[in-house]
Symmetry: C3
Subunit: 351 residues, 3 copies
Amino acid sequence: MSKQIQGNYFEDFKLGQQLRHATPRTVTEGDQALYLSLTGARFALNSSGTAAREVGYKGLPLDDWLAFHLVFGKSVPDISLNAVANLGYAEGVFRQPVYPGDTIATVSEVIGLKENSNGKTGTVYVRSRGTKADGTPVLDYVRWVMVHKRDPESPAPEPHIPELAEAVPASQLELPADTDFAQFDTGLTGQPHLFEDYQAGEQIDHVDGMTVEEAEHQMATRLYQNTARVHFNQHQQAQGRFARRIIYGGHVISIARALTFNGLGNALKVAAINAGRHTNPCFAGDTIYAWSEVLDTIEIPGRSDVGALRLRTVATKDRTCADHPLTGDDGKYDPSVLLDLDYTVLMPRRF
Amino acid sequence: MSKQIQGNYFEDFKLGQQLRHATPRTVTEGDQALYLSLTGARFALNSSGTAAREVGYKGLPLDDWLAFHLVFGKSVPDISLNAVANLGYAEGVFRQPVYPGDTIATVSEVIGLKENSNGKTGTVYVRSRGTKADGTPVLDYVRWVMVHKRDPESPAPEPHIPELAEAVPASQLELPADTDFAQFDTGLTGQPHLFEDYQAGEQIDHVDGMTVEEAEHQMATRLYQNTARVHFNQHQQAQGRFARRIIYGGHVISIARALTFNGLGNALKVAAINAGRHTNPCFAGDTIYAWSEVLDTIEIPGRSDVGALRLRTVATKDRTCADHPLTGDDGKYDPSVLLDLDYTVLMPRRF
Amino acid sequence: MSKQIQGNYFEDFKLGQQLRHATPRTVTEGDQALYLSLTGARFALNSSGTAAREVGYKGLPLDDWLAFHLVFGKSVPDISLNAVANLGYAEGVFRQPVYPGDTIATVSEVIGLKENSNGKTGTVYVRSRGTKADGTPVLDYVRWVMVHKRDPESPAPEPHIPELAEAVPASQLELPADTDFAQFDTGLTGQPHLFEDYQAGEQIDHVDGMTVEEAEHQMATRLYQNTARVHFNQHQQAQGRFARRIIYGGHVISIARALTFNGLGNALKVAAINAGRHTNPCFAGDTIYAWSEVLDTIEIPGRSDVGALRLRTVATKDRTCADHPLTGDDGKYDPSVLLDLDYTVLMPRRF
């Protein structure tokens, strides 16, 4: 029985440990088409190669979240196969664009460990780095997950919780090489609003809703070669707490991002992930809505052509977002809220 | 709330108005694979690059209806987001072939307006033109839609109904440049029947049936970046007349076209759309069947290698087509009939 | 009514008959992405172009089973449209790798015929050969199917049952040209076990389960342009024995192969199909599990870099495989068993 991958348990992780994740993945135009088909994304740089080249890209880049899901998916068999929950994200920086033909691989470093007081589980913090075959950095981010212990009797490690930035600062954003958004044509997106038109505190209901089907989230999650069993195995899930397959939280992120096109159509690129929580599980048949708040408007040093918006995007299920649902009177997340994501996007400036 | 796209209402349209639709789209081999996967298409020129090159194409062209759906999808946010119904098509001409790597954009011109007597809605006629980034024409067609008024009190425009051709004449068909079908090998399609074998009035049952799933029509419609809400939002549709998501009528067209391979296997290319009506809504779980009538056999000026067949293809749901269902004794469409499409295809001539 | 494809009946087949199957198919990166998305495959050579080139491939080759399904799909309209059942496979040899851009066509030869004693059906044996447009062989295999007679009164042909090898011998395996697996890096797969680590008789539970949805198997089967009606037409199937669409047996093979990554992660390539039976029908909603037995470990003449494992992989539905389910006390297949496949894979040797 020893040849199967059983995944790591809490006591298998050591501070400073490096994990090289399996099966690098060459990305193609097929992945891009499937991503559009599964999420409804319409952002210009990932839809039109012509638009992308006009601002300095070498071709049609992969959607940033598609790149994220591929980098993330690689890490699942080693990091979260025995996870109870994906607890949070921080310090995510999207680096150079990914193009069809690039081969992506992921390595992770264990940067924190803390056993829970129940002695049955612990939290593992990892920094994962996605790179191309030639070493070009694609994306790195920290996530922390609650993982089962194999043996509750095994001793607890020295607790170590890493210090993580509350948000990625402007100085650490990495803009794609050789880009210039000064001449960006808003006719491409049909939306006139640019960086200067958004203010901190502004809230936007993205109006549209998208119902998710079992085949869709399974296809998306397999495309990313994410093997977490809760997404795929109804025979096993039927015995579990929800009696349903749970939709990969990243699929909810992708659909929320696609919905934000309506109101944030010129938020051309995701630059950073500051924080994020999957607050409730999403199931097939749920209709996802989203709203966003502008948390901050950020000037990028040395760039007059483009600025950054720090956004909070909240996704809900089966609940419209005109009133910006978030928490109840008790301060807890509303049961309709699936996702509370704090991230940074790039938007052209008015010239 | 002003940043969201709310779509145009009837009083927003002006005769002669030009609309440039958002988010051009670079098409890829990924789109072609998804199209096969979602529709079951098997026509030779869109399946075999070898077959396509042998008759003069530069590579494997996009299926004509895939090109149509992409051109059409672009227009939805501006034309039909607030539409009650898509009423008809006319004067559709497929122009130059689309290849992977081409970027397609759509513009539309308002060519007719007529308020309905109820004062709540009106009909908008638009001519939409799809082109490549270098201006090469892909497709143009007229459609008319019934659109809500934002304010029933707003004054009615001067009514103007455009004169539309009953069918695209042979002289206006545009054959792909540099093609020659004289040596077309029917062994590629397994069907021996060519242009000379079809007669006006002939009716063909296409025999096979195809059941459509929610995930399939959603994936197809998102691939075309068509944002009409009725296709995607079950939470909202549950409150509506049908309590179901409505399948994009274009998906029914694509499945009907794929079914016609059985009996019209050498109808290699769609050349024109003469007229078309979506006569009943299609829902997930419906099984689509189709039959066709040859309306006319058309010689193409200057071409001895290829002719055109004007076809009526009727698609039904949950009803086989051996008896060619269309209308009942009352002259109304049979409730099983989803689509009544009048279009023109190219077929090689016997040499 | 004569223009439709009605498929061949038992009396239409003649010993020695050659059938050229319709609609060659150009394969693309889109097909590869869909295949990953629909099956969850993670084997290194079909996931990473870098890994493939390192061992001598010219690019990212199509998954062997994707190539099989395309070659097989072409043959369905002529061989098995009127089939009762697909009875078996033999002498399958995967030949040269298929790359995006290749155009695949299939021809079959009738190599055996035997009418059944009921006089209503008969068994047809065909050898199908898939080739590229330039004649490069892709795959050939024998399958036999039970086919309806059109007319029970038509005379029985002289019975002829071909002699078929019990397994493809090592001398007939065809390794991709110019490959060398000596330096294969198991870090790519995250699994250390190589050829020398497996012994005949060893049994491996692949642990994971995968639930199949209607949209998924339909999309897969249409991608292969396989037109067998039982997979697509719920309106018709509702009247049948199972009242359900039956999932293409090849989709079960693909999912089983994908599951075997867990425990056979370095089984980089399928080299041969020795025998195979679809023992029970699979329906949407079923969760597929798999286990394998190593039937033989095979040295390949002239190759010290790679060996072959002859495997039996058994797929089940809604039943985990820790106890390797196969047959009951009565010797019959357990009702949970969907597939009993005898095939040969290549695995790098320890250097």
